[in-house]
Structure formats: structure tokens, C-alpha cells
């Protein structure tokens, strides 16, 4: 009779966590799916009517939605790519530095600990024509947050600054798993630094890289705070989360907003699945051991 008791205890101990997670994710997303099928505007709550998929049709044929999808990708793709390269560099420094390794490890945690809104404000002030210092750098003198592409640049720089440390720490953990004797063998066999990095380190780090990519891509697709603080979505920098927020909580259009929310959910889940699929056997079963 030992097994069933262990099963029961296991379920008993995990139940509170499972209930808490499901209550605030599974239930609301189902509620969002239901709401998305209605015309339901909180300013006219009595005019609630079932409209089927019409909300989705409205969104998928609107320019605002597709522009926001584009803005989200314009932010996500460069941020995550630069972070991957910078984060890898930082991880190598933390892994190999002979001097100041502890200082670097401690310092990179600072952006991670900083409230995103504060980071966004700091960068906004730095690029602001009156309160900034970037103007002092000659050719860079321009009203950064008043034109579309320069505004994107500031947003992306902020994202990179804030989240590269996280990427670097994930990669550092992967780097620590590369066996030293393999590296030594490669060195003895006459492999150059570059060969060792591209032929030995990188392939062995593939799982860590994909995990880092997965976390950061999913996170970047949800971007909200930085854009809210820096441009409030002006100049075509509005990402999907901001469109969802505005429809739901500014226009109080719960029906249409829920449809946007569901589409964002599908977008993020789709991206996550693509990356997980790309992992294939790089994500061994025993990770869930």
C-alpha cells in the first residue's frame, strides 16, 4: 500500500500550487476566449451580444493590429539577436576572466534587479534633448524619441541593457557544462581559439542557447513597460501588448480586447512551440526528471 500513499501525498503537496497557477491563468484565458465572442463594451454593458468570430475578423483586417505585430517583431528580433551575441561575450568574460570576475558577475545582476519602468525612464532621460547626455556626443544629436526609427533604437537599446545579464547568466550555466578535458583535447589537437569556440563550445552549448532564446523571445514578444514609458506607442512603435491593453483597459472594450488578448496568446505560444520544436533532442527528456 506504499505507492498509493505516496501518490496521494504528492498530489496533496502540489495541489495548492496547481490550483493557484490555474486560477489566474487557465480560468482567465478561457474567460477571454468566451468574452472574445461577444460584443461587450463596459461603457454600454447592457448591449452585450454574441457576435461569433466577428471580433477576430475586425482585428485581423485592421491595419493597427498588423502594424503592432510588425512593431513587436521590429523590437524582438534585433533585441534578442544582439542580446545573444553580447550575452555570449559576457558569459565568456564571466567564465574566463582572470581579474575582476566577481566584480563582473555582481555588476551584471544590477540591470536585472532594476524595475523595467525605471530602466525605461533612465534611458528616456539619457536620450532626451534637454536632460540627456547623448546629445553631447556630436553626431548623435537629434530628438531620439520623436522619430520612428530612432525611437525603436532607444527601445531596443533599453531592452538589451535590461535583459542581456539574464541571457548571459543562462549561457554561463551552459558554458560551465562544457567539459574541460574536451577543450584541452581540442587544444592539444591544434584547434585555434575560433575553432574551439565554433566547433566545440557552441555545439555543446546548444541546449543552453535554445533555452535562453526561448525565454528571451517569449519575454520580448510580451514587451509593454518600456514602450509605455518611452513613447506610449506613438510613431508606430506600438507593440501588440499595448494594443491589447488600450482596447481592454482604456477603451474598456472587453469583447474586442479579449480577442486581441487571445491572438497574442496564440502568437506567443506559437513562437514558443517553434523554438521548442527547434530544440528537438537538444532538450533531453531527463530535464523534466
Amino acid at each position: 500500500m506504499r505507492m498509493p500513499r505516496e501518490h496521494r501525498l504528492g498530489w496533496l503537496l502540489s495541489a495548492p500550487a496547481v490550483v493557484a497557477m490555474a486560477a489566474v491563468t487557465a480560468y482567465p484565458i478561457l474567460a477571454a476566449v468566451r468574452l472574445s465572442l461577444y460584443r461587450y463594451d463596459l461603457r454600454f454593458p447592457d448591449a452585450r451580444t454574441f457576435v461569433g468570430l466577428r471580433n477576430y475578423a475586425t482585428i485581423l483586417t485592421s491595419a493597427i493590429w498588423w502594424k503592432s505585430v510588425a512593431a513587436t517583431l521590429i523590437i524582438t528580433v534585433p533585441s534578442v539577436s544582439v542580446e545573444l551575441v553580447l550575452g555570449m561575450g559576457l558569459a565568456l568574460v564571466m567564465h574566463r576572466a582572470l581579474i575582476g570576475r566577481r566584480t563582473v558577475r555582481t555588476a551584471v545582476l544590477i540591470p536585472y534587479g532594476i524595475v523595467t519602468v525605471v530602466a525605461a525612464l533612465a534611458w528616456r532621460f539619457a536620450f532626451d534633448p534637454t536632460t540627456g547626455f547623448v546629445q553631447g556626443l556630436g553626431v548623435l544629436d537629434r530628438p531620439w524619441l520623436s522619430a520612428r526609427w530612432s525611437a525603436f533604437t532607444v527601445i531596443i537599446l533599453t531592452e538589451i541593457w535590461k535583459t542581456t545579464p539574464f541571457m548571459a547568466l543562462l549561457l554561463l550555466a551552459g558554458l560551465a557544462l562544457v567539459p574541460t578535458d574536451v577543450m584541452r583535447a581540442a587544444r592539444v589537437d591544434g584547434a585555434t581559439v575560433w575553432q574551439r569556440f565554433f566547433r566545440v563550445t557552441l555545439p555543446l552549448m546548444k541546449p543552453a542557447i535554445l533555452v535562453a532564446l526561448l525565454f528571451r523571445t517569449v519575454d520580448a514578444l510580451r514587451i509593454f513597460d518600456t514602450v509605455f514609458v518611452q513613447t506610449r506607442g506613438a510613431l508606430g512603435t506600438e507593440p501588440v501588448s499595448l494594443v491589447g491593453y488600450d482596447t481592454l483597459l482604456v477603451s474598456l472594450n472587453l469583447g474586442l480586447g479579449s480577442a486581441v488578448a487571445v491572438l497574442i496568446f496564440v502568437l506567443v505560444t506559437g513562437a514558443a512551440l517553434v523554438i521548442v520544436r527547434g530544440m528537438g533532442d537538444a532538450l533531453p527528456e531527463d530535464r523534466l526528471r
Binding site: L35, L98, T130, V218, F224, S258, A261, F265
Partner: protein, 278 residues
Amino acid sequence: MRARGSPFERLFWRATTLVVLVYVGLPLAWIVSLSLKPASDLADGHLIPRHVTLDHYRAVFANPHFPAAMRNSLAIASLATVLALGLGMLAAYAVVRLRFPGRRYLLGGSLAVAMFPPVAIVGPLFDLWRRAGLYDTWTGLVLPYLSLTLPLAIWTLAASFRDLPWDLERAARVDGATRMQALRRIILPLAAPGIAATAVLVFIFAWNDFMFALSLTSTDHARTVPAMLAFFTGASRFQQPTSSIAAASVVVTVPVVALVLVFNRPIVAGLTAGAVKG
């Protein structure tokens, strides 16, 4: 670690360290500098303020919204942390120590929760909280933070629990201790670094959140610091709010940076263990 390298190598690493420090520190140094400059020097472009004033800090604390937001942030983030640790520890113990069907789904499912886009649930929560009387309350924010940080808590706690010497627990139970006694006296003290790191990570998440705070609160009753900062207007309508925002930002940043610096080792271990060692 290898023996010290050649002078060239040492110089290279020293320079690299410096570059990293400047990269990390410059935006922060700038906001600290703005918070200390008198209004007349605000636009002078100097990193080191020519005159230093604490007026902006005084103004920030004189503004009733700021202390209220600080109190809300501290209380909400602490409550969420305590609850997430409690529930997370139970679940992580079950995952590491017990064999039961559905164990893998617990880890996989919580990973899915960790990737959840907040905007997908903020609408229904807003609707529900309004009707349940949870709108603009501490509970209304603690609940979503608890749920969304549980995956992080479960993964990092499970990773650190896995490395514990569980033989000691078995030995204590052979000696007549109950499961709970063995857990409290033997295992918990050994697990302390992992638990501390998890606590800091959960706290940072809750302290950092903007979207829920923006959507589910409206007054000083529950509005947290990030949401308040976004609407900050300075002590009076006639004052440039930049300096006040800068001062408020510094005040908000200091506790978390201190926390991160103090717990830097276990945090690095926690962040990486949860994600890669799994």
C-alpha cells in the same frame, strides 16, 4: 582558476571589466546625477552635478502618493513572496522526493505558465476583480503575482532541493523523527541559500510588475511604485517632474540593488540552475 596570465592578458581582462562596469553603470549614474541636480542645472549635460541638492528627495517624500506606493509595493511584493515560497516549497518537495503520476506535467505545465503573456489575462481579471471587490486591493495584485511567480519558485527550489543530502533526512527518520521534523530541522537549514535566492527572484518579479499594477489598481490604496512612477507629476504642477521622477527611481532602485548585491551568489546559482540544469 589558472595561474595569472601575461601582463597583456591581465590588461585585456581589466579593460573588459571596465567596459562592462561602464555599460551597466552609466544609465544609472545618469539618473542618480539628475536626481541630485538643482532644477537650473538639469539641462547642463554634466554627469557629475556641479551643485548637489537633496530637494528632489524631500519633494518626493512630501508627495503623499509616493510613500503610499512604496508601502503598497513592499507589502504586496512581500506577501506574494511568502506565499509563493510556501506553495512552491510544497510542490518542489513533492517533485523531488515523491514519485507520483502527473509529476512531469506539473513541471511542464508550470513552464507554460511562466511564458504566459500577462495581457492575455488582464482583461478577464479586471472584469472579475471589479465584480468580486478585489479591484484596487492588495489581494487583487498578490494573487496574480503569486500565480505567475510559482513556476519560477518551483523550478529554482526543485533544482536546489535536488542537490541536498537527502540521506540525512532518511537517517533522521530512522532515528525516529517524523517527516515534518526531519524536514524542519535537517533539510530546511541546508536548503536556505536556494530558498533565499528564490525569495529574491520572486520579490523582484512582483516589485517590477507594471501591467497588472496599472490595470488592477487606481488609487493610493493599492497602486504600486512602477505604476505610480508612470503617472508622476512632481510636487506641484509647475515643477519639472524629471528630477522628482529621477529621485523616486533612485529610491525604488536602491533596496532591490542592495538585495541583489547581497544575495549575488545564490541568485546566480538559482537563475542558472532553474533554467539549465533543470
